[in-house]
Amino acid sequence: MTEPTHPNPAPPAVSARDVSIELGGRAIWSEGTFDLPAGGVYAIIGPNGSGKTTLLRALLGLVPVASGELSVLGTHPSRGDARIGYVPQHYARSIAHAVRCRDLVALSSAGTRWGLRGREQDTWSVEAALRSVGAGGFADRRLSQLSGGQQQRAAIAQAIVGDPELVLLDEPLANLDLRNQQEIIELLDELRVDRDVTIIVVTHDLNPLLPILTGAVYLLDGHAHYGAIGDVVESELLTHLYGTGVQVVRTAQGDLFTRSIRR
């Protein structure tokens, strides 16, 4: 599961050459040189404030690249690229009582168009997106009436409704219990296989994602690096990354996980 199931004739989903990012004149990180081959699942990891979300926003064209060459799906990142789906972190909390799951998804599909006229294929693609994430049963409920796991499914549905090639998720596992984390991870893996999308996940916890990850971009000491999954999960690197002791354990079944060590 950790390797893409087919060779990659397509260009990389993301390609960075010596990219640096600044916010308000302050350097966030620099020297980002990596390729993320299409069809994989990638994590963006790093300590708080290291610029993980900023990297996502750069991929979305919302934050300009200060220097270097960043390309997403073969072009310069630009706002409004319908080939990219996005699940932001703080999902619609304040208005959750006012919006139905179905409307959230429908707006993501038709909300970019002016005027009142609807299109039939919109309804159809909304239904398809709701079905793919298993949200058919609660599509007519308000977001505030959904559990955390269901809300995350709704958020993923609105990200995939336009049939994107790349889906970016910001901390999709935060605030979920273990079972819901597992379900969301299985869902992401299904989406990658069934819809042939590339998935990039910002996360502060690598462990739950390890079974499906292809590789990870780690933001460390103001620089962005890429490692295939076997290389990233290495005690010394993770210890350095989080500034606390991290041990990498491989179980008898071959599962990989990390744990912090108290000193």
């Binding site: 064209g61 996005y86 208005i95 009582h97 006012a98 919006v99 409307d103 909300g111 168009r113």
Partner: protein
């Protein structure tokens, strides 16, 4: 005058036996039409107010209109014109002041206090503006002139046309702003458009229920509707119906008892809200 005997309590409350006759007076036609237009406009913009958590901005815009109206009287202009200029100008200033809600709340609150203070200053400088002050603070639907009615009509037409164009992207930008921004929707511009439209509606609503009672027309009906349904079109439709029932019902009651319409309009809309709140408590309806 009348030979019919009424319950003493009704008589004590100022019950007017000629109320049905009064309803057919020409000035009542203006009041009914103006009230209906405001209910329609407030129901539509109100949906966006509640899904954007813009209640505070709505409240503040009403207050910002106050010095506009009293200032216009001071320099010899129509208070309605001053009201419109300040409400819409205020909307633009609030919209341009900042993108974070907290930041905007501080800006809004500061402008609100400044506006109310300036309004008091203007009204004390203008010798005979006390009537204007009462009308702006509490509204007077019975005093709507044909000119005002024409303005209500134009404002409502503009609102309907603009909303027909922006409804979907504005809803997207309201409920899912980060994704809307990423998808190329002009989120900030739409926020400004929304505020200007709200300025139009508030200019109208102030003349009906006044600055101090705005909430009952612009926020209460859509908030009530939202407890019953979350489907956007149904929320708007229900909010318009609740607004119409409140304004028209309030107007009839005001004529019946010869008391200010503003009170009855606010009372009707609050009554519907309380009933719906009690009926839906604990059972948040899925549809």
């Amino acid at each position: 005058m009348s030979t019919v005997q009424f319950h003493p309590l009704l008589a004590a409350a100022g019950y007017q036996s000629t109320w049905f006759h009064t309803l057919r007076e020409p000035f009542m036609r203006n009041a009914f039409l103006a009230g209906a237009l405001v209910a329609l406009a407030a129901g539509i913009i109100g949906y966006f107010v509640v899904i954007r958590s813009g209640e505070f901005s709505a409240h503040a815009l009403g207050h910002i209109g106050f010095p506009g109206a009293t200032g216009a009287v001071l320099i010899g202009l129509s208070p309605t014109l001053g009201l419109a200029v300040f409400c819409i100008g205020g909307a633009i200033i609030i919209g341009a002041s900042g993108r974070h809600v907290d930041e905007r709340a501080t800006a809004t609150g500061t402008i609100l206090a400044l506006a109310t203070g300036t309004g008091i200053l203007f009204s004390s400088l203008a010798a005979k503006s006390s009537n204007t002050v009462t009308n702006v603070l509490f509204g007077n639907l019975l005093a709507v002139s044909s000119d005002q009615l024409a303005m209500f009509l134009w404002f409502t037409v503009v609102l309907l046309l603009v909303v027909a164009v922006v409804a979907r992207p504005l809803t997207f930008a309201s409920v899912n702003p980060e994704v809307a921004e990423a998808r190329g929707v002009p989120v900030r511009l739409l926020g400004l458009v929304f505020l200007v439209l709200m300025g139009l509606v508030i200019t109208m609503a102030v003349q009906v229920v006044g600055t101090l009672l705005l909430f009952a027309l612009v926020v209460t009906p859509p908030a009530t509707a939202l407890r019953l349904t979350a489907r956007p079109l149904r929320v708007v439709t229900l909010a318009v119906i609740i607004g119409l029932v409140s304004v028209l019902g309030g107007l009839v009651l005001a004529v019946m008892f010869n008391l200010p319409p503003s009170f009855f309009i606010v009372a009707c809309s609050s009554f519907v809200w309380i009933v719906v709140l009690a009926a839906t408590r604990g059972t948040r309806s899925p549809h």
